[in-house]
Amino acid sequence: MSFQIKETPDSYDVIIVGSGAGGGMASKILSEAGLSVAVVEAGGDFDPAKDEDRTQLRPPWESPRRGAGTRIRPFGDFDQAIGGWDIEGEPYTHKDGTKFDWFRSRMVGGRTNHWGRISLRFGPNDFKRASIDGLGTDWPIGYDDLKPYYDKVDKLIGVFGSKEGIYNEPDGFFLPPPKPRLHELFLKKGADKAGMPMIPGRLSMLTRPINNERGTCFFCAQCNRACQAYADFSAGTCLVHPAMKKGKVDLYTYSMVRKVITDEQGLATGVSFVSKMDMKEYKLRSRVVVLGASACESARIMMNSKSKTHPNGIGGDSGALGRYLHDSTGADRMGILPDLFDRERYNEDGVGGMHMYTPWWLDNKKLDFARGYHIEYWGGMGQPSYGAGGGMDTMRKYLKDEFGNPSPNGGYGEGLKKDIKRVYGATLGMSGRGESVPRYENYCEIDPNGTVDKYGIPVLRFKYNWTDQELKQAQHMHDTFEEILTNAGAILLGSKPGPESDYGLHAPGRIIHEVGTTRMGSSPKGSVLNSNCQAHDCKNLFVVDAGSFVSQADKNPTWTILALSWRTSDYIVEQLKQKNI
């Protein structure tokens, strides 16, 4: 971890708040244009190539909890994302007993340290959903506006996949995909039988090199631990650190931004932040401020940026700031596949995610819900760590001895050990990740009861409800899951969730795809940003995270964040050249 702070702040061309996908991309493009850049990050820096920061390839016995999750690493003790849904001293609140779980990563690279590297382009339909189904709002831009940037992102960062020619799943510049794992072939059989597509995954791992600066994937399945060869995408290793090496980029770590400072004309002049190291307030000045702190955090900063010229915060008069908050829908199901009992052993780790997936394949006009979902598959001979050998109290009965007699559930002894060995690698499952309909009624706001975090910064209060659209979609997911698993020869585990448990639909925020809180649009009423992600009411303030999204699509947002941030960065360079800002 490195720490850097300046008692006498310099002035920069650009201050970027946050170092994740959006902030990281902006730091690279803006510094390459010759601008001086300050990246202000709320957490610390790290480099997975240094042994002291490495968690990759560490076996579970190097962790006293054998890799189990903790409060600040909910995805496991070796996961590199530091933060989680519940950060000490950084609370958030809820209105009317509704649920929203807010995942944050306090570190260089932000949530790109966590994500599944599923790198899907939004398709032409994804920008024009209102025109298709009458719900929500169209984006002010379309696929053609972003296509050149998606192309550049593919080439800069690298993503494997296959050209399919599916209209709303645009192809790109793909690296060769890895061959499927065994359980994926079984699931493919199940999907084929159901008449569903199942195609190579599109994940940002380098199966082949794209340049001489980053290594290639060596198939350990541990991208979430950060790659010491930089063979996967995270904003720290692929964007921020390279930008710091080549350009005029200063990184301010452990720096929690309170607000954007504005002048009498209402223009941004810099930011004020609290250093977590000495708990003192610091100010930095710049010509342009770029927010990439994550959709909700950037909205929070704008709400807290109250001044004489912006009495309701920046963007506060739009009627859209904090509104239209929406996360992906999510539901999961698991099964056990007798064909995989007593399976042959070989190294099946593969890349850190699925080798095959199912893009949305149906027409909503023939369904009772509005938007689609994709399916992610999992299973295989993964690394035994915390939780290994568990669940034999319910699962052991599916094993049969040589005479066809089922094993008893539970038990102990050599027989139990043998059955654990026999069942290893035979469970599998899938997760649906879908598009929800953005709603004005789902939002974050500054907590009106005056709650502050430990830095004295007012916190967010959330109000979020799923509607019938999402519930029906989750119900459809579960029907599909059962069909695929059964077709593949698997026995379903658990039971199908019904209305009493919202059809297994995860609470909003759990899928960590929240977007929309500073959405773009053509009018300063009803949108916070214009189509270049520039604030309508503060022309030298830009937002490069997923706050600008008008709708989420049934795709993971990162590739679109990267493309939009690149496009916005080009626009900033152009506007500075023309002296418009």
């Binding site: 006293p64 189990a68 296959s162 090199p209 950060a226 190294n347 593969g350 050990k417």
Partner: protein, 236 residues
């Protein structure tokens, strides 16, 4: 020196774990167990709070001597030694469970309650403490709760507790080097994935989708920087 400073000093490497275990005050000198798990907690990009927390948790012990003895007994029943692998006690599974009790305190009451029930049941049946039972008597009690589908309703709660014990013992057993060897896990090492071995595909009557045959990664290409044409086709 307060406890926190003490723990911070530990990370400078100048003071060994002995100080941590004994503390500065006399009343802290009687901690029962040596730390047998990773002495400094999990490595790799830890925050200061994580380092301190791990060290504190590792210094803390949840189980009493009698409870440890019960868990050692149960651990070796659940995962005994065999010709291929060691017993749970050899793999210090009880130490792992003890750590998990302080790391995830939500399980403490359930775990302790079940361990107390063992003494109740031993007294009812044999007029002894569980730790004083013969192996045969121990097995009589274990068999009451180890088989969820056969257990009588009066043991429903104890069955659930034993499920927890089984899960914790297996978790601690199979997440070790010996556990990996037994289960025959072959991964966690750099390699080149080139698909499911042909004989395995053949056995299951499966094959890689023909459509992508030419597209899939070829191991020999892994060293070459990729080149595309304008349409996104790989040309080099």
């Amino acid at each position: 020196m307060n406890r926190r400073e003490n723990l911070k000093l530990l990370f400078t490497g100048s003071i060994g774990a002995g100080l941590l275990m004994t503390g500065c005050e006399p009343e802290q000198t009687t901690l029962a167990h040596e730390p047998v798990l990773a002495s400094g907690g999990t490595p790799g990009n830890r925050t200061e709070e994580e380092k301190i927390r791990d060290a504190e948790l590792l210094a803390e012990k949840f189980f009493t001597e009698a409870e440890r003895k019960k868990l050692d007994t149960l651990g070796d029943i659940i995962c005994p030694a065999d010709s291929e692998s060691p017993a749970a006690s050899e793999l210090k599974v009880t130490d792992f469970i003890d750590f998990m009790m302080v790391d995830q305190p939500g399980n403490q009451t359930r775990m302790r309650g079940g361990l107390m029930w063992l003494d109740f049941e031993a007294d009812e049946k044999f007029g002894k403490l569980f730790n004083d039972l013969s192996q045969d008597q121990v097995m009589q009690i274990v068999d009451l709760v180890a088989w969820p589908d056969k257990a009588t309703p009066e043991y429903e709660g104890a069955v659930k507790w034993f499920n927890l014990v089984r899960n914790m013992v297996c978790s601690g057993y199979f997440s070790t080097q010996a556990g990996w060897k037994y289960i025959d896990y072959r991964g966690n090492t750099p390699n080149v994935w080139d698909g499911v071995p042909q004989e395995v595909l053949d056995k299951h009557g499966l094959s890689n989708p023909e459509k992508y045959k030419e597209l899939y990664l070829k191991p020999e290409d892994r060293a070459n920087v990729v080149q595309w044409d304008d349409e996104g086709n790989i040309i080099g």
